[in-house]
């Protein structure tokens, strides 16, 4: 028993002296690889693949290779907190590419005060966009609230007088709608909100909620949710006779899964676009296709393109830091701070057509979106790029 105890003790102390690696740039990425929201998880594979592409095509940056670490946050706050801790404490990542609204809000104090690591999440909620309070959190595009305003403005121009909101019972659903209502955005646009309808996010059937929509008959309904629940909404709307043309949704519903799965039930459905679609004739697609010749691309959709853009931003900021240090990798806290400082200096950064040029002066890359409508099974632009001022 004494020998056993001594062996255990030795092992525990041996772990204490494992060396960390040197000369590599670890980048942390977590997303919903399993669970809800997997329909849009191309945004997590995109940055990982871009950094791999940089390693293979350019040998990394100034001789240092990226080590992208992709973990599964399962779209659950406790899991995201756990993987975040692992990425920053064990893997010593320079940047974190995060995911959910709830997770980002839960971690915002850690990100900005305890750990101080540049964080680029997929959440676009306004609550985490504050360069003063949260200087380390960056958003790629227009916030959900910006998108609500753009959607409502468009509806107003089309002569709408009444509106309704439809969302799940999670922070991603409630938060932006709550913010829009608290800021009296419908009143400012002279639109009457007939209902703010909330459904259980995991519910397989939403017919009763669509019956309510049918009964209220608003001119337009804004869906603050993503592809997997929107598919249920469109399916059940068709059952009860609510046309898809009544629905406008955020950027996480610009997906070919909707046209392929919902078919004619999706005709007239509108979604916002904040980045390029898969397959457009733009430089960024050429890079992706080059990468695709030797690697399997996990998701061929607009979200993967968005993720690729996010990988470009990470590479650009890290490159700038290493150029300023002559190729020497700084100590991790300093590295994170300098990456953050370079991030806010990005001005009209060209993403190869993936997005409008990005300027992060206010920690937000751009605030433009355009509205697409499904016509003949395809997403067709029905507005110009609109900026929410």
């Amino acid at each position: 028993m004494k020998k056993m105890s001594s062996l255990i003790l030795f092992c525990l102390f041996a772990i204490s002296f494992l060396p960390a690696f040197a000369g590599e740039i670890p980048v942390g990425i977590y997303g919903t690889l399993t669970g809800t929201d997997t329909d849009v998880n191309g945004m997590s594979y995109g940055p990982r693949d871009y950094l791999t592409y940089v390693n293979e095509k350019f040998g990394g940056v100034m001789g240092h290779k990226y080590v992208p670490i992709l973990l599964d946050g399962k779209n659950q706050i406790p899991e995201e907190v756990k993987v975040f801790k692992r990425l920053v404490d064990v893997d010593n990542v320079v940047v974190v590419n995060g995911w959910s609204t709830g997770g980002t809000k839960a971690l915002r104090d850690q990100i900005n005060t305890l750990v101080k690591v540049p964080f680029q999440g997929q959440s676009l909620i306004k609550d985490v966009l504050d360069p003063e309070k949260y200087p380390f959190i960056f958003l790629l595009g227009p916030t959900y609230e910006d998108q609500v305003i753009i959607g409502m403005n468009w509806a107003k121009q089309k002569g709408a007088k009444t509106f309704a909101f439809l969302h799940a019972d999670v922070e991603y659903g409630r938060g932006p709608v709550r913010n829009a209502i608290e800021e009296k955005i419908p009143e400012k646009l002279n639109l009457k909100v007939l209902a703010d309808i909330e459904y259980p996010g995991a519910s397989p059937d939403l017919t009763s909620y669509l019956l309510r929509i049918n009964e209220l008959n608003p001119d337009y309904v804004y869906i603050q949710d993503s592809v997997n629940n929107t598919l249920k909404i469109l399916r059940d709307a068709a059952k009860v006779g609510v046309p898809a043309s009544k629905f406008i949704s955020n950027c996480y519903n610009f997906s070919h899964l909707i046209t392929e799965t919902a078919g004619k039930d999706a005709e007239g459905f509108k979604a916002l676009q904040i980045n390029a679609d898969w397959g457009e004739d733009i430089p960024i697609m050429k890079e992706i296709k080059e990468f695709g010749k030797t690697h399997k691309i996990a998701k061929e959709d607009t979200y993967y393109v968005k993720g690729w853009v996010q990988g470009k931003i990470i590479h650009e900021t890290v490159s700038r830091v290493l150029k300023s240090t002559g190729g020497k990798i700084p100590e991790i806290s300093e590295f994170r701070q300098r990456v953050r400082d370079e991030w806010v200096k990005l001005d009209k950064f060209d993403t190869g057509g993936g997005t409008p040029p990005l300027s992060y002066k206010n920690n937000q890359g751009h605030s433009m979106a355009r509205i697409l409508e499904i016509k003949g099974g395809k997403y067709v632009p029905i507005s110009d790029w609109i900026k929410n001022d």
């Binding site: 004494k2 001594s6 003790l9 525990l12 002296f17 494992l18 973990l71 801790k85």
Partner: protein, 336 residues
């Protein structure tokens, strides 16, 4: 010299105490993350010990352990943010409030058994989840409540090291407490109810009253576990207390060994660490396997597989396996 143990008996406890005190100060980059895992395991031990009392020792199935933990977590969150009470009041208060909720939830279930009892506790789980999400005035709904962690000697309580020195002794206390409980009349009554509730009633045990005691004690443990979780994570959100977490706790006591006082310890270690071990293994194998979807799903498959294996081949759980191993080691050493 009577009353003093031979020095050989002191060796192991002293070594364990030494490791317990020194480990958090080791210099490895892995230390902080390992501390995080140890802390989460310790919280699991507290919660699982409570469930073990109810299910393992009293034979009452509960599908609502996560919801009761949520009650404890929200109690701590509300008392610390709205009233500003210190943690040494909030933590016991979390246990007491959860005990009251547990008694209220348990009372209608007293005459139910087996499947019907499981359904009744499941309804408590869903009801409490609904309240967490929708009672905005109290819980702030899905937005959750942020807690500023209290300071202990100038350090925040949710610092991994500080929390380690709080939660590990509490976990140890919870295990010792449940072990000692079953040396008392109350504990033996629980066991009698589990084994033969009708016979227990016939020999004079008030079955309904003792079932209620079991719910109360189990809920107290769950409330304290929830309170600890609240102080550590600092964000309380309904997502953390869903049915999947209740199932994790049931898995802990099945795999660890139902009705054994060390079962919650082994079960908690298993449930917290196995996904980590699989994750790390798959990270090493993933470049070779080159299949992302398999990589991600493999964790769930292995986890489920192990639970089924334990149910079929070792229903007494890890506690029994460890007990047999220790027995063989002891005999091996004695032969020398």
């Amino acid at each position: 010299m009577t009353g003093i143990l031979p020095y050989k008996r002191w060796a192991l406890p002293v070594i364990c105490l030494f490791v317990f005190l020194c480990f958090p100060f080791s210099l490895s980059s892995y230390t902080k993350y390992i501390l995080f895992l140890v802390n989460m395991t310790a919280i699991g031990v507290v919660g699982a010990s409570g469930l073990n009392i109810l299910t393992g020792y009293t034979g009452l199935i509960s599908m609502g352990q996560a919801a009761f933990m949520g009650v404890g977590a929200y109690t701590v969150a509300i008392l610390s943010t709205r009233i500003g009470l210190p943690f040494w009041i909030n933590l016991p208060a979390a246990g007491i409030v959860t005990t009251i909720v547990g008694i209220i939830a348990g009372t209608p279930s007293l005459r139910l058994k087996g499947f019907y009892l499981a359904m009744a506790t499941l309804s408590a789980q869903f009801l409490l989840e609904y309240l967490f999400k929708n009672w905005q005035g109290l819980t702030q709904g899905v937005q959750g409540i942020f807690i500023t962690p209290p300071q202990i000697f100038g350090l925040h309580m949710n610092d991994d090291r500080v929390f380690y020195f709080i939660v590990v002794p509490l976990a140890l206390l919870s295990v010792i407490g449940s072990r000692n409980l079953f040396r008392t009349n109350v504990g033996r009554s629980f066991i009698a109810i589990r084994d033969r509730d009708i016979a227990a009633g016939l020999i004079g045990i008030n079955v309904l009253r003792y079932k209620l005691y079991s719910f109360a004690i189990s809920s107290f443990y769950a409330g304290v576990a929830g309170g600890l979780w609240a102080y550590y994570m600092t964000i309380i959100n309904p997502e953390a207390f869903q049915i999947t977490t209740s199932i994790d706790y049931i898995a802990m006591i099945i795999v660890g060994g139902m009705g054994t006082f060390l079962g919650p310890v082994f079960g908690s270690i298993f449930v917290v660490l196995l996904p980590e071990a699989i994750q790390r293994t798959m990270e090493i194998l993933q470049p070779i396997l080159q299949i992302d979807y398999t990589f991600v799903a493999f964790k769930q498959i292995v986890f489920g597989f192990f639970i089924v294996v334990f149910l079929i081949f070792e229903p007494k759980g890890l506690a029994e396996i460890v007990s047999r191993l220790c027995e063989r080691l002891r005999h091996g050493l004695e032969r020398r």
